[in-house]
Symmetry: C2
Subunit: 212 residues, 2 copies
Amino acid sequence: MAYRRTPAVVSRLEDKRARILAAARSLVAEGGWRRAHIATVAETAGMATGTVYRYFPSKAELFAEVLTNVSRRERDVVAAIVDGDGSPAARLAGAVSAFAKRALRGRRLAYALIAEPCDPEIDRARLFWRAALGEEFVRLVRIGQDQGAFRRGDPRLAASCVVGALMEALVGPHAPDPIEDDATAERLVAEVTEACLAIVTRLPARGIGRIA
Amino acid sequence: MAYRRTPAVVSRLEDKRARILAAARSLVAEGGWRRAHIATVAETAGMATGTVYRYFPSKAELFAEVLTNVSRRERDVVAAIVDGDGSPAARLAGAVSAFAKRALRGRRLAYALIAEPCDPEIDRARLFWRAALGEEFVRLVRIGQDQGAFRRGDPRLAASCVVGALMEALVGPHAPDPIEDDATAERLVAEVTEACLAIVTRLPARGIGRIA
DNA sequence: TCAAGAAATGAACCCTGGCTCACTTAGTGA
DNA sequence: TCACTAAGTGAGCCAGGGTTCATTTCTTGA
C-alpha cells in the first residue's frame, strides 16, 4: 500500500549513488577541485543539486569518498608489492614504478588527490591516505634496513623523501606536463625509480669533504 | 597651499606599507593562509580594512608580495651556495642543509609558502618561486654532471626529486611536527641532506635484479 | 587660521557556492 | 484506479570574506 524498497528500487538508488560518485570523480580528474561544485556534479550526473544531498550529507563527504576510493586502490597496489617477494631494493623499485605509472596515467586526478589546494575538510581525508601510502614505504624501508640492504636512519624520514621525490617529479606542479609518448614516460618512470632507490640504498664510500 | 608629498609624508607612507606587509607576513607565519584575511591584516597593522586597499590593489597582490619577499631570499641563499666553490656534492649538501635549517626555523611559514592550500592567485606566485628554487638545483645538478660527479640523467628530474624529498621531509604535512630540541633538528637536517645527496650521486655498482 | 586635497575609515555591498525545503513527480501494493 | 510514501526538484537562503565609496580626519602651504 505504499512505496516500498523493492530490489529494483534499491538497485536504482545504488546506481544513482554510483553515478554521482562517478561524476564527481570525473570532474576532479578533469578540472581539479576548482571545478568540483555540487551544482556541477549534479548537472554532470543529470539530476538536480538537491538530489545529490539525498545521497551524500555534504560536499566534503562526497569528495572524501571519491578520494578514498581512488587512494585506497593505490595504497593497496603498493602494499601488495611491499608484501611480495624479491629483494627490498627490487620491491622498492617495483612499488615506485608501479605507483609512478598509475599516477602518470591520470595525472590531473593524481595531482588533485595528492597536491592540489583543496577544501580543508577534504584535506583531512587526503592527509590520511597520503599517510597510509607513506606507511607502506616506511614498512618497506624497515624491511630493507633489517636485511642490511638499506642505509640506517629514521625509516619514516627516508620514506618521506621517497614519497616526496616521487610526487614532485611525477605530479608536482612543475612536472613535465604533456608526456609526449610512451618512451618518454617510461624513461621518466625509470629515472624516478632510480632516484628513489638511491635515497634508501647505501652510499658508495666517497668523501664529500667538509659540508656546509 | 595643499597637502604635498614631502619627504616626511613619503616616509610615513612607506612605513605604513611596510607595516601592512609585516602584519600579513606574521599572520601567515602564525596561522597560515586560513587566517590571512584583509580585515585581520588591517587590525594587526592597526588600521582600517579600506586603508590596506590604498597600498595594495587586492588581497592576492598583497600576499603575493609577502610570498615573493620571503621566497626570493631563500632562492638567493641557495643560489649563492650553488655559485660558491667546493665540489658539486659539497655544494649540494650545503644548499640542502642551508635550506633545511632555514625552513625548520620558520616551519609554519615555510609550510604555507610551499605546500598549504591557498588562493589560486597566490598560488601562481608560489609556483613561480618554487620553480625558481628548483632552477638553482637544476643548475647545480648540471654542474655536477659535467664534472662527472653526479649520475647522468635529466637534471630537471633529479632536481625535482631533490626538491620534493626536501619539502616533503621538512615541511610536508607528515613531517615530524614538534622539533623537540636542536639535536633532533640537526639529525633531521643531516639525514635529509644525505638523502638528497644520494639522489644525484652515482649508485654503487650492485645488481638489484629484474625490476618490476 | 584656513582652504585644499590626500589619507583613513568601516559599514555596506556583492559575489560565490554550499545547502535547504516547500513542492512536484513517480513507484508501489491493494 | 487510488492512497500513500519515497525520490526528485531548483529557486532561494545564508555565511564568509573580498572590495568599494561616501564620509571623516589629517597634513600642508599660504
